[in-house]
Amino acid sequence: MAMLTDAATPNPTTEATASHEPRALARFATTLAHVLSTPLGAIGLALVLLIVLTALLAPTIAPYDPTAINVKNRLADPSLAHLLGTDQLGRDLFSRVILGTRTAMTVALTALATALALALPLGLVAGYGPRWLDGLMVLMFDSISSLPMIMLGLAVVVLIGPGLPTVILVIVLYCVPSYARLVRTQTLSLKSRDFIKAEQAMDAGTPRILFRHLLPNVIGPLLILACLDISTVITLEAGLSFLGLGVKPQIPSWGNILSDGFAVIRKSAVPVVAGGVPLVLATLGFTFFGEALRDALDPRLARERRP
């Protein structure tokens, strides 16, 4: 009964929705089992859970105010009081690392969601629209991708000042061209497929083809790839902050911790290690998890991610 609810009957019957629920649940369960069946997938899932939980509970876990400066206790070695010691301003590194998780996740999820929301329509229009518009848009995408990221970072920082929104905007600017190009490529190849030709032969309007037939076929792969890209975005945020173009220096962020630690690397290795290890764990975790998820849902999507 459930099969016609997608398109044929505008108002799904109660019966149909009832049978829809367990199916989604079963699908989720099989996907999860698939992810857990590979060692890397299991490690990835564990790391992702650890990071997400830390981000959610960060203020509860952190023993100190991550921005509280204590000049007397600078660059203290790890101790029971300060699990990871303190940085050159005497701030508790453990608290900064924990709250840095929250910063990383906030930036990553917001930036990715925004980038996807922008890239989808742009890519669809480029792929399905007239050829001159496609050419123009691809030219734009190529131009932005050929700009060094630091240039984008600077422009935005100078325009709206440093801070969380700045980092997000830079990452969005950086990601949109590549996502949009992906959507465009997918749309182009779908456009020549028989089922779209069949829709045209049935005299389906452009909105129907775009939203009912192209979008669902494009969005699935895109979401999986976005999941894989979480670690790229986390790296971007840390990198921008490391260069001083990211979040404000006092805000706890892995990139800031690394930047501060780099300044004192000859005096103490603790800050660099403290900032780098969670960053590496996060990128590894999201990559392992994302790849396992992709293999479980759509193995044909294996697109290699550039370092």
């Binding site: 016609l4 997608d6 009957t9 028989d194 069949a198 049935m202």
Partner: protein
Amino acid sequence: MRKQPALIEADGLSVAVPGRGLPFLRGAPLSILAEVSLAVRPGEIVCLIGESGSGKTTFGRALLGLVRPSSGSIAVDGVALPDFSARSFRALRRQAALLFQDPVSSFNPRQRIGAMMAEPRHIAGVGSTRLADIVALAGQVGLAERFLARFPHALSGGQARRAAVARALSVTPRLIVADEPTAGLDVSVQGGVLNLFLDIREQHDTAFLLITHNLSVVRHIADRIVILYLGRVVESGRAGDVLRSPRHPYTRALLDSEPVPDPARRRAEPPVIGEVPSIARRPTGCEFHTRCPRAQPRCRSEAPVLLDEPGERQVACHFPLPEAVNIPAPGRRMAQS
């Protein structure tokens, strides 16, 4: 034959693709279809026969505006379309349906078969999309209700083809254009699809344009046959006439090349040698002269015109085969029948 305006009539339809090279310095456009004229009357089954490279698939798509014709005209019920814009094709597309060579790929991979069957009704805004009515529609093509909940790739070749026919039927088209309707089907099921076409015609007076390379499969169902070679019509006529006494040497070669399932009737030599030339290098004169056993010097220099002959027959040949040639019918009567 009834004398009434054709349901659809293509007149001198040509399709060309741009040549290679830089803008402004391109080679001549490649002509895929050259002035093909073809009419389908209501309730008629016309078979368009051609080998690879004959442009038969392009013709089917051009007829519905999926490929833009470069010249010629298309008339529906005797009224010509003003131009080849999408708007002009609207009315035609509502009355015609296209069946693709690969039925599975003609369904959205993320929608269930049942939903896809209702798609034309949604687009046209006519007809019921209630489940019971879709089930009835599936029943018309002999597809059980349980298949409606499946995704396209979970159907067998025969089932997917029936589902595609059901989708086409959902808005009761007056014309169904079917590209290789039996491709990929086993001998034991392909008859079912063709019989289904006959049923549909009986019930709805639907006309069919069957596009295929396989003469033997459609010979039983065709009313009229049109033979394409390199994008040009070389012969057309009533199915019985063309099959019994082909006038064009190419038609003859096609008929003779079909291997006969009778070991006693093996051929000593292949009926025609060589291969279909590329459309990028069309031969001069009659384009079949490079392979024609009857070719004369004139065939090399002068292109034959497609001439009307008595009995709705058309042949494009300087030296057509005489009318009276009598090929024995390839069907061998089995002892029991």
